[in-house]
């Protein structure tokens, strides 16, 4: 048998384009039955399963986005409140500093005022003490001078003389700058 014989044998083969209603009818029937079963029993189940999963995934993504949004908002609020607290703290510190400064200034002023008053009072006291001392000196000096003069003169000096001598002595003292 040669290749030519094979080709010749092919001539007797059935026509591939031959119409066969049995085969066509079987194909129509089988596909119609298969399609009917698949239409009611398979595709609704598969599409529902895929849709459910899709919805689930989309729902999870949305929930995650919502959670992220809420977290972002909470973080923003937290940062905002933190900034407010920080600002409030700064303000409180500034106010405290100002108050401390004010109190310090007041205390300083009061101290200075009190010091000035005390110094004035001390000066006045000193002046009055000085005056009293001078008056005492004057008194003692006049008595002492009268006593000295009495001894020297051997006579009693009456008060009028004594007053004249004292005034004279005081005048000399004043002139001497005592």
């Amino acid at each position: 048998m040669s290749f030519a014989i094979l080709l010749a044998a092919a001539d007797g083969a059935p026509d591939p384009m031959k119409l066969n209603l049995w085969v066509a009818g079987t194909a129509l029937l089988v596909f119609a039955i298969a399609f009917s079963i698949l239409y009611f029993k398979v595709w609704p189940v598969i599409t529902k399963g895929l849709d459910d999963r899709n919805d689930k995934i989309l729902g999870e993504i949305k929930a995650a986005e919502d959670a992220r949004s809420q977290a972002k908002q909470a973080l923003s609020e937290y940062e905002q409140s933190l900034a407010q607290a920080r600002e409030q703290a700064q303000q409180t510190i500034a106010e405290a500093k100002a108050e401390a400064q004010r109190l310090g200034d007041e205390m300083k002023a009061a101290n200075e005022r009190e010091l000035a008053e005390r110094m004035a009072r001390a000066k006045a006291d000193i002046e009055s003490a000085r005056r009293a001392a001078v008056a005492d000196i004057h008194a003692n000096a006049s008595e002492l001078a009268a006593a000295v003069a009495s001894r020297i003169l051997k006579r009693e000096i009456n008060p009028a003389d004594q007053a004249g001598l004292v005034s004279e002595a005081l005048g000399e003292l004043d002139e001497a700058g005592v």
């Binding site: 048998m1 399609f35 079963i37 595709w43």
Partner: protein, 313 residues
């Protein structure tokens, strides 16, 4: 194996439809070729399709409430493969053409026809007839590619034709359907009325040519691929006629053709998926062509043409 193929007398003899063992049963034989190979494979393919997809659907189905996130997980390789195919074809292929609403409406039909063709193509790749010969069962019981039969592809194309026309009349109505067949030219300038009969004749022929093209494309691809494969596998036997069996040249031819046949089988595997997809996809395209959107686009085109004609005048 090649000797077994040679027993079929020709590559066509191995690929074409033949009588199955059931045909020799008297009461079956009396009603003609009811139990031919392709008819048996059609029934077998239909059963495998329904059982396989029902099994896959049961695995894709949403589980019980108490299962938590696990209820949404698809288990099993078959179910996962089906799911991947369905999701990809729906989201990437059909939905961009038909839109979401029409996709939901036509998905059961389109995917049924896709998986039906795919199962028949894949089952046709199994060398069942050759195994029968190998084990000495000379009566064909099973085997053959039903989609390599023009009667089968024509029947499937008839379903596609009905689907396309049902969609057309539902979307456009009878007048809209007629208007569509004139490409909306009746709304254009009066001068265009002259070409309306020609356009209508071409478009009306197209209504039938489209499904016929679907049928012939699937049939020719499956038939051609199998004939090529059978021819390549038969080459060693042919070489045996001219070369001394067992010689180096004969071994060389056998190894070369055997390797090429394996490569071609992988190509056939790819073609099995491709042709199923092409049939389904083109049906979807033909359905989408008979929608309002397409019609509006055509009206727009006509308006543009009319404006250009007016400008020329």
């Amino acid at each position: 194996m090649s000797n077994l193929l040679l027993a079929a007398d020709s590559p066509l003899g191995h690929v074409l439809n033949g009588k199955s063992m059931w045909s020799e049963i008297s009461w079956v034989g009396e009603i003609g070729d009811v139990a031919s190979l392709h008819e048996v494979m059609l029934v077998l393919g239909g059963i495998l399709l329904v059982l396989g997809l029902m099994f896959a659907a049961s695995r894709i189905r949403t589980g019980r409430d108490g299962q938590g996130n696990e209820r949404y997980v698809t288990r099993g390789r078959l179910a996962q493969i089906v799911e991947v195919i369905v999701v990809y074809l729906r989201d990437e292929m059909v939905q961009p053409i038909l839109g979401e609403k029409q996709t939901r409406r036509w998905l059961p039909f389109l995917f049924s026809i896709f998986f039906f063709i795919l199962v028949l193509n894949l089952v046709g790749l199994l060398p069942l007839q050759d195994l029968h010969h190998f084990f000495g069962l000379h009566h064909f019981l099973l085997g053959g590619t039903a989609t390599a039969n023009i009667n089968v592809t024509a029947s499937l194309a008839l379903f596609a034709f009905v689907a396309i026309q049902v969609h057309s009349f539902r979307e456009l109505g009878f007048l809209g359907w007629l208007d569509h067949l004139t490409c909306g030219l009746t709304k254009g300038p009066k001068g265009l009325w002259l070409v309306v009969p020609i356009v209508f004749a071409v478009e009306f022929a197209g209504v039938f040519i489209k499904p016929v093209a679907l049928a012939i494309r699937l049939f020719a691809n499956m038939m051609g691929g199998h004939i090529l494969l059978a021819t390549i596998i038969m080459l060693p036997s042919m070489a045996q006629l001219g070369l001394e069996p067992g010689s180096g040249a004969w071994f060389g031819v056998s190894i070369a053709t055997g390797s090429f046949a394996v490569a071609l089988t992988f190509l056939e595997l790819f073609v099995a998926f491709l042709q199923a997809f092409v049939f389904m996809f083109l049906t979807a395209v033909f359905i989408s062509l008979m929608s309002h959107e397409e019609h509006e686009d055509e009206d727009h085109d006509v308006d543009e043409v009319a404006a250009e004609v007016a400008a020329i005048h």
